[in-house]
């Protein structure tokens, strides 16, 4: 995860902490001082149990949540400036599409903010539709699409203005396993085509290992990074990657790190809760 010598790190966190004000007392520590570097073109996953602050950390990088302490640099400038310069695109767990806009106009939303003219927007929208394989759906409204298609529109919207950095907050968490694996493959293809840097929040170990060049393992109370695992699986990754012995070794390694950080129990707890909920 070291920055290249020439280009500045895509993301550089130094001593970043976050406390949420509580009632009266000290408040809740969401993030204890965190250092993290993400090099240009890397695909870094943040994995950890619920409440470990991984979504908060992503929002700190995007300057959507102000850290209590530490410094955040994005593309070599302060996070606030990076946001003002529209240096990153963001994808949430829900697609967060504007349902009064068609697919094409949702994808064009950031381009409107950037002041692109109509013709240029239309051209880019067609390219993005091709990229996420939704050509022909430009006139549909979001509620006419499946959950997986909606999330692809959301990715197209985030990438439409070619940001150098893509922030993704459990983007496939609400989808079924099969759709999720297909979109994992698509995301890798898009990542390679666009050459952007991706910071990806997930609580699926196999998803993190399959997608990433690096996995940062987080732990809760307070949120911190307890380990960094380099994923040395060869590129490009395919459906066969998931069946390689090395894939399972790495999954095991990430799981071990989670357990040491107290995360595995928390993950297991979470799964139990999910089972309870399903009942």
């Amino acid at each position: 995860m070291s920055a290249g010598p020439v280009r500045p790190a895509a993301v550089s966190l130094r001593g970043v902490s976050k406390r949420f004000a509580g009632r009266g007392g000290e408040g809740v520590s969401a993030l204890s001082p965190i250092d993290l570097d993400v090099g240009p073109g890397e695909f870094v996953s943040l994995i950890g149990p619920s409440g470990c602050g991984k979504s908060t950390l992503l929002r700190v990088v995007g300057d959507l949540v102000a850290p209590t302490g530490g410094s955040v640099q994005v593309n070599g400038k302060p996070a606030h400036q990076a946001r003002r310069d529209r240096d990153y695109g963001i994808v949430f767990q829900d697609p967060v599409l504007y349902d009064w806009r068609t697919v094409a106009r949702n994808i064009a939303l950031p381009l409107e903010m950037l002041g692109w003219d109509r013709q240029r927007r239309a051209g880019r929208v067609q390219e993005m539709l091709e990229l996420v394989e939704l050509t022909g759906f430009e006139g549909h409204h979001p509620w006419q699409l499946s959950g997986g298609m909606q999330q692809r529109v959301s990715i197209a919207r985030a990438l439409s203005f070619s940001p150098a950095l893509l922030l993704m907050d459990e983007p496939f968490g609400a989808l079924d396993e099969m759709t999720r694996e297909r979109l994992n493959g698509e995301l890798l293809r898009i990542w390679q085509q666009s050459g952007c840097t991706i910071v990806f929040v997930t609580h699926s170990i196999s998803e993190a290992v399959f997608l990433s060049t690096t996995v940062a393992v987080m732990s809760a109370r307070p949120g911190r990074i307890v380990g960094v695992v380099d994923i040395d699986l060869p590129q490009p990754r395919t459906v066969d990657t998931r069946e390689e012995p090395r894939f399972f070794e790495l999954v095991t390694e990430v799981r071990e790190r989670l357990r040491k950080g107290g995360g595995a129990e928390a993950l297991a707890e979470e799964e139990l809760l999910l089972v309870e909920e399903e009942r």
């Binding site: 946001r83 949430f92 967060v96 349902d99």
Partner: protein, 275 residues
């Protein structure tokens, strides 16, 4: 499927209309046969036959005069002009007020109580003052209609502008969007279903406001003049007043229907967001 649903809708509408007519005529027949006197005596004066009310429309309004329907339609057009102006005035004022209040809790806290209080003052008490200030005429009547129109629009716009999902706002933040862009690209579109709910209330209310506004102005050309006139002649010709009410109601329904059509054309929201 759509066509079949529409046919079904029309059939249900006609069935309800028929049932209401049957209740009216049934009550009248039973009331007359049994000599019912409570809560009122049932006869051709208190409850004219429906066919007499409709028939009255096609009788001369006075000896050798034009047909009643011609007189009433002319009055309806007269009142409609005031109501449309009042509706546009009230809806615009209400919408802009809603935007102003949505942007500042301070403004909201300062002004909302007075806006609510304004609606507790009877419109009949406000109307003469507007006439005193602005003189009798189209504009003063429109102001009175606007007074009844703006309030639901303000309240619903305020709610609608605050209805957008927090993540939708976060997305705008990620683009470093300014207030103006957030307003027009997110908050206003998100408020549209709320706005149209208010407009559906306001549109018929503007007709009521226009009719009430005509009273203190002593304006004769509108529906208020017709109502007063046929009220005087109720003993001799009760169906005329009923016919006037029918035309006034149709005008209000027309206003409502126009808003519904406009909503279909303007609002393209997910089914769960459409009232």
């Amino acid at each position: 499927m759509v066509a079949r649903g529409r046919v079904r809708g029309v059939l249900v509408f006609l069935a309800v209309l028929g049932a209401l007519a049957a209740i009216w005529e049934g009550y009248k027949a039973i009331g007359e046969a049994t000599g019912l006197t409570w809560p009122f005596e049932v006869n051709d004066r208190s409850m004219p036959h429906l066919h007499d009310i409709v028939g009255e429309l096609f009788e001369p309004s006075r000896r050798n005069g034009p047909l009643l329907i011609g007189v009433l339609l002319k009055a309806a057009v007269f009142t409609a002009r005031e109501a449309i102006l009042g509706f546009l005035l009230g809806a615009t004022t209400g919408f802009l007020l809603g935007i102003a209040l949505a942007h500042s809790r301070l403004l909201e806290r300062g002004f909302l109580p007075y806006i609510v209080a304004s609606q507790t003052i009877p419109i009949l008490a406000i109307a003469p003052m507007v006439v005193v200030w602005l003189g009798a005429g189209l504009f003063s009547v429109a102001i009175i209609a606007a007074y009844l129109t703006f309030f639901p629009v303000t309240i619903n716009t305020l709610r609608g502008l605050r209805s957008a999902d927090p993540r939708a706002h976060e997305l705008m933040d990620s683009y470093a969007a300014n207030r103006w862009a957030v307003l027009w690209k997110l908050r206003v579109p998100a408020s549209m279903p709320y706005l149209f709910t208010a407009l559906k209330i306001s549109a018929p209310a503007s007709v009521v406001g226009a009719i009430i506004g005509e009273l203190p102005s002593s304006i004769q050309g509108g529906l208020a003049g017709a109502i007063l006139n046929y009220n005087i002649y109720y003993i001799t010709s009760p169906a005329s007043l009923w016919a006037t009410d029918v035309i006034a109601a149709l005008l209000g329904i027309g206003f409502f229907g126009t808003v519904v059509v406009a909503e279909r054309l303007v609002v393209h929201r997910a089914p769960e967001h459409v009232a």
